[in-house]
Structure formats: C-alpha cells, structure tokens
C-alpha cells in the first residue's frame, strides 16, 4: 500500500492504495468517477481515456501510484470545456453513440485531436480515433460528429474574431 496525493478534476485527493491498482479502477471504485470506462484493460480499446497533467492517457496503463502529485482530468471535469461541449453537441446531433460504452474515450481522443489539429479532414479523424473501438460499429456517426464539432469551433472562432 502507498499513500498518494493527487488532484482529480481540481479536487485534492489523498488515499492509501495498493500499488497494482490502475488509475481507471481508482477513479471508478475509489473516487466514484464512472465516466471513465474499462474495456480491454490492455490499452487496445481506448474507453479509459483521461488526461494526466493535460496529456491524453490510457488509465488502464497507468497505475494510480504513478499519478502521485499529478493532475488528473476525467470527462466529468470537462463540463465547462468549449471543445468538449462542441463535441457533445456533435455526438448528439450526428447520432455519434448507440450503447455509449466507448463514448467517453471517443470524446477524450477527439478533443485531443481538435486541440492539436483544428481542421482535420475525415482521414485525420479516422486515424486519430483508430485506437478507440466501438463495438456497435457506429464509426460513421462518430466521424461525422467530430467533423461537425470541428466546423462549429472554427465557425465560432471566425465569428468572435479569434
């Protein structure tokens, strides 16, 4: 057991945890933050995407002890985020989810793409989401949702002169 101090969604958390506990289980079971989903538990499905110090991270491949003194942001912590809100609207409008299991990871990966690449084409979107699996196979709607969010964000930037 190790004592860790970390910040999760701007809240300080101190906890005694088993070293082998992965960050995703820690978020879900200890912090009750269940937007982060665990699918494959070996880094292949992308459902467990979070940010550690702002960097896109598979929380099944990080042990919670590794995040001592770091800032973790989950989907719950991005309620007020402009890019995430544009993505939420896009997913809603373009039927970007069916069962919803992959959605948190899709949103995190798509947000990371839009921050690095403001005007991605379909190929860019498909490549950026290649590591996120949708078992409903609803990829067409997901890709359209991300494209819609990207367009909405660039339109609003033009309108606000930014």
């Amino acid at each position: 057991m190790t004592m860790v101090n970390l910040t999760i969604n701007d809240k300080k958390v101190t906890c005694d945890i088993e070293d082998r506990t992965n960050l995703a289980d820690f978020l879900r079971d200890t912090c009750n933050l269940t937007a982060t989903h665990l699918g494959c538990e070996h880094g292949a499905c992308g459902a467990c995407g979070v940010l550690v110090d702002g960097t896109l991270t598979r929380s099944c491949l990080k042990f919670a002890v590794q995040c001592d003194a770091r800032h973790v942001t989950t989907l719950e912590g991005l309620d007020q985020d402009a890019v995430m809100n544009a993505l939420r609207e896009g997913f809603h409008h373009e039927h970007g989810l069916q069962c919803g299991f992959c959605t948190p990871g899709m949103l995190m990966a798509a947000r990371d793409l839009l921050l690095r690449h403001p005007n991605p084409d379909e190929q860019d979107i498909r490549e950026a989401l290649a590591g996120n699996l949708c078992r409903c196979t609803g990829y067409a709607g997901i890709v359209r949702a991300v494209a819609r969010a990207s367009k909405r964000l660039s339109d609003s930037k033009i309108k606000s002169g930014g």
């Binding site: 598979r58 042990f63 001592d68």
Partner: protein, 273 residues
C-alpha cells in the same frame, strides 16, 4: 485482467534508479509502461517490484553536435512526432513516430522502452539499427556504448544485464544528400507492424533493415550491397529474397511476399530522386 501484486517506487535520478535496480534482482524498470503495463495486466509478465524511471530528468534530455544527435531514453514517441527533439534523419524519425500506435500511447511510450522491450515488430529497433545508433547503457560500474546490432538479441531479448538501463541513444546525423524512409505494413492503423523496413541511401553508403520478420530486426546485407552498387531489377529482387529467406524461421510464401513487397517499396522510395 488485473496485474498480480507488486511494489512500486519512483526513482528521482539515474544513480538512484541504478541503486534501486541493483538492490533487487527481481525488479524491472518502468518507463512509459505502454508495453509493460499491458503485459503485467495480462499476467504475461510477473514482476515483484517496479522502479519507475519515466520521470528522471537525465533520461529526458536531447542534444545535438555537428555530427550526431543524442536522444534520452525516456523521450516519448509524441515528443519525436511533435519535433520537440532534433531529428538526425531529415524528418524520417518524426514521420515514423506519427505512425506508432495511437496518440495516447505515443504520449507515454518511450524510445528507450521500445528498444529495451525488443518486440520483434517494434518501430525503433528497426529504425535505430538502420541509422547506426549507439545505445548509451548505464550500469552500476559506469556507462558502456552498445551498437544497436549488439543490443538486439532476440524476441523480447537484449544484451542488457539486470540492473542496467539505456540512458540515451547517440545517432549519427545523415549527410545532407542522404534519403531515408520507414515503410510499415499493418492491417489496422496503429497495430504492431506485419512488416517494417527502414532504408537509408546516401550514395556511398546504403542500408536496409527489416523488422517483424524473425526474432529481431536485421540489416539485409545483400540488398544493402545491391543498393550501394545501384543494382536493380531481377538481381535486386534475388538479393532481397535471399536476405528474407535467411530471416524467416519458416518457409511461408505469404510472409516472403509481404516482406519483399515492403522492402522494395522502401528501397524504391530512397533510390528514386
């Protein structure tokens, strides 16, 4: 699945990491963990204690001189992709990094970890072997310089001793007229390569390296010699076939064709002005 119990400790400096690894023969170094964590989760690897070397400042530096670039072992694929470190190969390392796994993996996976793990299909062992890189290996008794060809041994096997870690790679800069490429065939974007080839050509020296064929990446000696002599057509095809047959553990027509196609693609890219 969940990993079996282990103990975890974060090393703050290189000497501290070496002391921790030296004190416990059952310990393993953990850098980005993007290969080790899945193997622990799947219980393909069992480890009693992990020493986290991912946050050691000495392993994160990159520098360059007139003739070579030094890249710290804990530099991530994403740092190379983003151009945060110098590229000794005219942007080829940067382009190759973009095609490793997925961005979330690239943000954590490290160049040193990739080589030390020695997956036969991994990108950096193939690329660094083609670029004549030297691994700077730190151990309890000091540092030794190990050319990639002597570091790579077999499937998940290197010549690193228990307690040693790769500190950095010293990579010669390609001459201005040199051309370099890495060609990868994988059936799913981001998956490990079914075939990976790095080719370098600069007039005097040519080298083509093949990975994901047999236990480790190897220089294709006949094909490299043919490239240097500007030999092409049937003679080049014959050289490539001979090299590939020598690498593959079994006679598989599909794999022979796959690798030959990829090798020809890479050679064509660097030989065509």
């Amino acid at each position: 699945m969940k990993p079996a119990p282990f103990s975890y400790a974060r090393a703050r400096s290189l000497p501290e990491a070496l002391a921790m690894l030296g004190a416990d023969a059952q310990s393993l170094p953990l850098a980005g963990g993007q290969s080790l964590a899945p193997m622990l989760n799947l219980r393909m690897t069992i480890c009693e204690s992990l020493v986290d070397i991912g946050a050691i400042a000495e392993l994160l530096v990159a520098s360059e001189t007139n003739d070579h670039v030094t890249i710290g072992a804990a530099v991530t694929h994403a740092m190379i992709e983003d151009g945060s470190v110098p590229d000794p190969a005219h942007g080829m390392m940067r382009r190759a990094a973009q095609k490793i796994a997925y961005r979330a993996i690239r943000c954590h996976g490290t160049i040193g970890g990739s080589v030390a793990m020695a997956d036969p299909a991994a990108d950096w062992p193939c690329i660094l072997l083609a670029l004549d890189a030297i691994a700077l290996v730190a151990g309890a008794s000091g540092e030794r310089r190990v050319p990639l060809d002597r570091l790579l041994v077999g499937t998940y096997e290197t010549s690193l001793q228990q307690g040693e870690i790769i500190r950095a790679f010293e990579i010669p800069k390609l001459p201005p007229d040199a051309r370099a490429t890495t060609c990868k065939i994988n059936r799913k974007t981001g998956a490990f390569a079914d075939s990976i080839v790095t080719a370098v050509h600069n007039g005097q020296k040519s080298r083509v390296v093949l990975g994901a064929a047999g236990p480790r990446a190897r220089i294709l000696e006949n094909a490299s010699m043919s490239m240097a002599k500007n030999i092409n057509g049937a003679a080049l095809d014959q050289a490539i076939s001979t090299d590939i047959a020598g690498m593959l553990p079994e006679d598989d027509a599909y794999l022979k064709h796959l690798h030959a196609t990829n090798v020809k693609r890479a050679i064509n890219e660097v030989m065509t002005p």
